[in-house]
C-alpha cells in the first residue's frame, strides 16, 4: 500500500513538474480546448446554442477530453520516452512494470481531471451551462474511465511494437469526438455507423452518464434497462483486451529489443 502510494505520488509529481515546464503550451491548449467546444456547439446548433442543449454536449466533450488525454499519454508518451531512453530506465526498475504503469495512469487521470475542472468550470461560467453534481454519476464515470484507459493500454502496447501509431492515435482521438455522441446523436447515425460508434470506448459511458447526471435516473434504473450492464461489459472487455495487448507488446518489445529504439 505504501509502495503503491509512493509510486503514485512520484508519477504525479513528475507529471506536474513536466507540465509546469510547458505551462505556456498548457495554457494555450486549455484555451484551444474551450474554444473548440464553443465552435463545434455553435456549428452544430446552427448558430444558436442554448445552455440547456449544451449541457449534454459539454458532458460528452469533457469525457472525450479524458479519452484524448489517455490516448495521447499512452501512445505519444510512450513513443517519446522510447526515444529519450527514460522508458528503458522505467523497465529497469525492480518494481513491477504493471504497478508503474498503473501509477502513470492514475497520475494522468489526476492531471486530466484538473484540466477538465478548469475547462469545464470556465465554459459553464461563461456559457451559463449547468451540470449537476450527482454522486450516482461517480461509478458510471469511473467505469467509463477504466474502459478508456483499457483502450489507451491497447494503443500503448501497439506503440511499443510498431512505434509509428501516432497518426492512428490522432485519428482515433478525433473519431471519438465525433462518434461518441457528444455533439452528434448516435441514434441518428446510419445503422452501421451507430453500431461502430457504440463499440467505441466512451460512447456507452457518455450515454449512461447523461441519463444519470442530467436526466436524474437512478443507478438501479439504468441497470434494469441494461445500459449500465452493457457499459460494465464494455469496460471489462476494453480493460482486459487492452491490458492483454499491452503485455503482448511488452513481451515482443523485450524479445526484439524495441524498448529503446525508434
Amino acid at each position: 500500500m505504501v509502495l503503491t502510494g509512493t509510486v503514485l505520488l512520484n508519477e504525479c509529481q513528475k507529471r506536474l513538474i513536466i507540465m509546469w515546464s510547458y505551462r505556456f503550451n498548457f495554457m494555450l491548449e486549455t484555451f484551444m480546448m474551450g474554444f473548440l467546444f464553443v465552435g463545434i456547439s455553435f456549428f452544430v446548433s446552427g448558430g444558436r446554442p442554448e445552455p440547456e442543449q449544451m449541457a449534454p454536449a459539454l458532458l460528452g466533450y469533457l469525457t472525450w477530453f479524458f479519452a484524448a488525454f489517455a490516448i495521447s499519454d499512452m501512445s505519444q508518451g510512450i513513443r517519446e520516452e522510447t526515444q529519450t531512453g527514460t522508458l528503458e530506465q522505467m523497465y529497469m526498475s525492480p518494481l513491477p512494470s504493471g504497478l508503474l504503469l498503473a501509477g502513470r495512469s492514475v497520475a494522468s487521470i489526476f492531471i486530466s481531471s484538473g484540466m477538465v475542472i478548469l475547462i469545464g468550470g470556465i465554459l459553464m461560467l461563461v456559457l451559463g451551462i449547468r451540470i449537476p453534481l450527482r454522486p450516482e454519476g461517480v461509478p458510471v464515470f469511473a467505469l467509463t474511465l477504466v474502459g478508456l484507459y483499457g483502450f489507451a493500454f491497447f494503443l500503448g502496447g501497439a506503440t511499443l511494437v510498431f512505434k509509428q501509431v501516432n497518426a492512428l492515435s490522432n485519428l482515433l482521438s478525433n473519431m471519438l469526438l465525433f462518434l461518441n455522441g457528444s455533439f452528434l446523436t448516435v441514434e441518428r447515425m446510419p445503422g452501421w455507423l451507430e453500431a461502430f460508434a457504440r463499440s467505441l470506448p466512451s460512447t456507452q459511458g457518455i450515454d449512461v452518464l447523461r441519463r444519470v447526471v442530467l436526466d436524474d435516473l437512478s443507478l438501479a434504473s439504468v441497470w434494469q434497462d441494461g445500459s449500465l450492464v452493457w457499459l460494465t461489459v464494455h469496460t471489462a472487455v476494453f480493460l482486459f483486451a487492452g491490458w492483454g495487448v499491452f503485455l503482448w507488446g511488452e513481451r515482443v518489445a523485450r524479445r526484439r529489443g524495441l524498448l529503446g529504439q525508434y
Partner: protein, 315 residues
C-alpha cells in the same frame, strides 16, 4: 547473439569492445533485462534476470548510449529523487542524502535546481550516471559512457569509473569504441564481432599475448622493397632515417631466424624487440581473423571463471 558465455568478477571494470553491430549494446541490454535472450540465462549476482526480475534489477544501475536516460525538463535533483523511488529506495531521508552525496561528488550540487536540458553534454551524462547509482547498486552498466563528451568531461567520467571500482568495489561493465579508454580503464576486455565473443581475457594478458608474437627489427638506413621481401608478412615503416620492420614471429620463423635473414641480406641491424601492441591492433587483428574464418573462430579460446558476481550470459 550466439553462444555467449562469460562471467564478470565483482569489483572489476569489464569492457566490451567491437565494431558497430558487434552485439555489445545488445549484451548490455540483456543484462538490464531490456532484451530477453531466446535461450539461456543472464544472472546478476546470482539472480536470474528472467525469473527473479525484481531482485536482479536491484543489482544494477545503467546508463545506455545515445539516449538521455533522464528527464530533461526536470532538474538534476528532481530526476534523482524520481529515479530513486522507481528503483525502490523507500526512505525519503536516505534518498535525499544519497542524491546530495552524488551531486556533490559530481560537482553538480550548485546547479541541482536547473533543468537538465540546460546542462552541457558532459553534465547531462553525469546526471545520468548519478541516476543510475542512486539506489547504490553493486553493478554499474555503461554503454559508451564517454561518447560525445569533450576531453575534460570524458576524463572526469573515466576517473569516476575507476573510483567506482577501486574505492567502492562496484563492478563496472562498459561498452566502448575508444580502445585507448578500454586499455586504461578495463581490468578485463571482451572483443565481439557479429554477435560472437572473439576474446575474453584480462587486458594485460591480451596485450602480453600479442606482445610475444610481434617483433620489430630496426635497421639502419632505407631498406628497399625487394630486400624487405625476405620477411613475408612484415610491414615496413620509416622512423628517424631508419627502417622499422614489424610482424608476427612464430611457427618456422623464430627470432633467431629473423636475425639470420637480416644478416644474410646484408642489412645493418640496430635492434630486435618485441612490438608493444595496443588494443587497437589486437582488435583489428581479431576482427580480421574472424572475418577470414567466417566468424566461426577468433583464434582465442573463451575463458569463463571467477565468482559468479557480475553478469553471466548465454544467449
Amino acid at each position: 547473439m550466439s553462444r555467449l558465455e562469460l562471467t564478470v568478477e565483482s569489483g572489476q571494470v569489464f569492457g566490451f569492445l567491437g565494431s558497430n553491430g558487434a552485439g555489445k549494446t545488445t549484451t548490455l541490454k540483456m543484462a538490464c533485462g531490456l532484451v530477453m535472450p531466446t535461450t539461456g540465462t543472464v544472472r546478476l549476482n546470482g539472480y536470474d534476470v528472467g525469473k527473479q526480475r525484481g531482485q536482479a534489477m536491484r543489482q544494477i544501475g545503467a546508463v545506455l548510449e545515445g539516449t538521455r536516460n533522464v528527464y530533461w525538463r526536470m532538474s538534476a535533483w528532481q530526476n534523482l529523487l524520481y529515479f530513486g523511488r522507481i528503483k525502490g529506495v523507500s526512505s525519503t531521508k536516505m534518498l535525499k542524502a544519497r542524491a546530495e552525496q552524488l551531486l556533490r561528488e559530481l560537482d553538480l550540487w550548485e546547479r541541482r535546481k536547473d533543468p537538465v536540458g540546460e546542462f552541457s553534454r558532459g553534465m547531462q551524462q553525469k546526471v545520468a550516471i548519478a541516476a543510475a547509482l542512486i539506489a547504490d547498486p553493486p553493478i554499474v552498466l555503461l554503454d559508451e559512457p564517454t561518447l560525445g563528451l569533450d576531453v575534460h568531461a570524458s576524463r572526469t567520467v573515466q576517473e569516476w569509473i575507476i573510483q567506482l571500482a577501486e574505492e567502492r568495489g562496484k563492478t563496472v561493465v562498459l561498452t566502448t569504441h575508444q580502445l585507448d579508454m578500454a586499455e586504461s580503464l578495463c581490468d578485463r576486455v571482451a572483443i565481439m564481432s557479429h554477435g560472437r565473443l572473439l576474446a575474453h581475457r584480462p587486458t594485460g594478458e591480451l596485450l602480453d599475448l600479442f606482445r610475444r608474437e610481434f617483433y620489430q627489427l630496426r635497421l639502419r638506413g632505407m631498406v628497399e622493397a625487394e630486400e624487405s621481401g625476405a620477411f613475408p608478412g612484415f610491414t615496413a615503416s620509416r622512423e628517424n632515417g631508419h627502417t622499422v620492420l614489424a610482424g608476427e614471429v612464430g611457427g618456422e620463423l623464430s627470432v633467431f631466424e629473423l636475425v639470420e635473414r637480416a644478416r644474410a641480406a646484408g642489412m645493418d641491424l640496430i635492434s630486435v624487440s618485441p612490438a608493444e601492441p595496443n588494443l587497437e591492433e589486437i582488435f583489428v587483428e581479431l576482427i580480421e581473423r574472424a572475418e577470414e574464418t567466417g566468424g566461426q573462430d577468433g583464434g582465442l579460446e573463451l575463458e569463463a571463471g571467477g565468482r559468479p558476481a557480475g553478469t553471466e550470459g548465454r544467449g
